[in-house]
Symmetry: C2
Subunit: 205 residues, 2 copies
């Protein structure tokens, strides 16, 4: 009863929805189990603690997002167009989230960074690994673009981090104003941050 892998999935899924809506600290194990429809006893069968559950939610969310980022950023399209697609899919995903639950829920990793990174080292480390991986993936594309002469950056790592920072900052404002239309500037801002040659032409490709 409940102690099946199905119960584990239900707990993870309920926790992810609740964390996206209300953050981590405001949640209790009892509420997570009630939302998941599993008896509270089964929680500790699957997870040592609420923190262990949060780490699992982070890992599962990143597994899905990493698949998306890999598909987009390692495709055979021109490098800058891959970044453009990343921003367009990010905007579309935030818009779909807003449609389904009424509010822009933002980036799970950004939300947990600002809520938790100074509170639990295990979560801080996991989030650092994820942002490192995101920056590395963007940097590979920026390096390709640089080799083609499409951009003019001097430090590809710093440039990639700035692109990710701009993404997080704009998603933060989209969440605050519950408005995804602000995310449409990401592409032009990315071209500016990378010192893209002939950004107007690139934008109209």
């Amino acid at each position: 009863m409940g102690r099946t892998s199905d119960a584990r999935e239900k707990i993870i899924s309920a926790a992810q929805s609740l964390i996206e809506l209300r953050g981590y600290s405001a949640l209790g194990v009892a509420e997570i189990c009630k939302t998941a429809g599993v008896p509270k006893g089964s929680f500790y069968y699957f997870f040592e603690s609420k923190e262990a559950l949060a780490l699992t939610v982070i890992d599962e969310h990143w597994a899905g997002q990493r698949r998306d980022w890999t598909r987009i950023l390692r495709s055979d399209t021109e490098p800058l167009q891959r970044l453009r697609q990343l921003f367009e899919e990010t905007e579309a995903r935030q818009r779909a989230g807003q449609k389904s639950c009424g509010t822009v829920s933002g980036c799970l990793f950004g939300n947990l960074t600002l809520e938790l990174s100074n509170q639990t080292e295990a979560i801080r480390e996991r989030l650092q690994e994820i942002f490192n991986a995101q920056v590395d993936m963007v940097e590979s594309v920026v390096t390709e673009a640089l080799q083609r002469g499409d951009v003019t950056v001097t430090d590809t790592h710093e440039a990639a981090r700035s692109v990710v920072a701009q993404l997080e900052g704009q998603v933060l404002l989209a969440k605050l104003y519950n408005n995804t239309s602000q995310l449409s500037v990401l592409w032009a801002n990315c071209l500016a941050l990378l010192g893209a040659r002939a950004p107007q032409a690139a934008a109209n490709m």
Copy 2:
């Protein structure tokens, strides 16, 4: 006992420190009063609720930050240099915070945006007003810079919002990595986002 304006200030000050360290949801009124050294009874003499206290903390923090931003952004220095000073003071403030409490605490408004904007409308509205004001202040400077021919933006409001978004995104990463040195790219990124003419020359002004 405790029902003096001194007790009110102690509660606000304790709440601000605790919110910066651990966010809002994780806090209880009892803990705030204990940290403030005031009896719990006095809390409800001054504040209707924890949310009312959070709004007061936000207002007091913004009053101080608005004074700083006004001093910097309305000075008679050249417009782009004012933005540079804003970033330098932001970096210095985050570094001082890290020195005093061991960790980069980030931007109180950004933290509360990601933690709370989907939970309490009163806090969302107050934070929207603050970010509106920040964007307006930056936009005034961008408009001046545009009139002087220092930048080439087509939409000053959107450009100002992107500068604020980049600031929030970089502060988020500084908090995650507990490292303020990443904030040093803000000035160069701002010049890029604004399409500043001869950014190298400007950077060396």
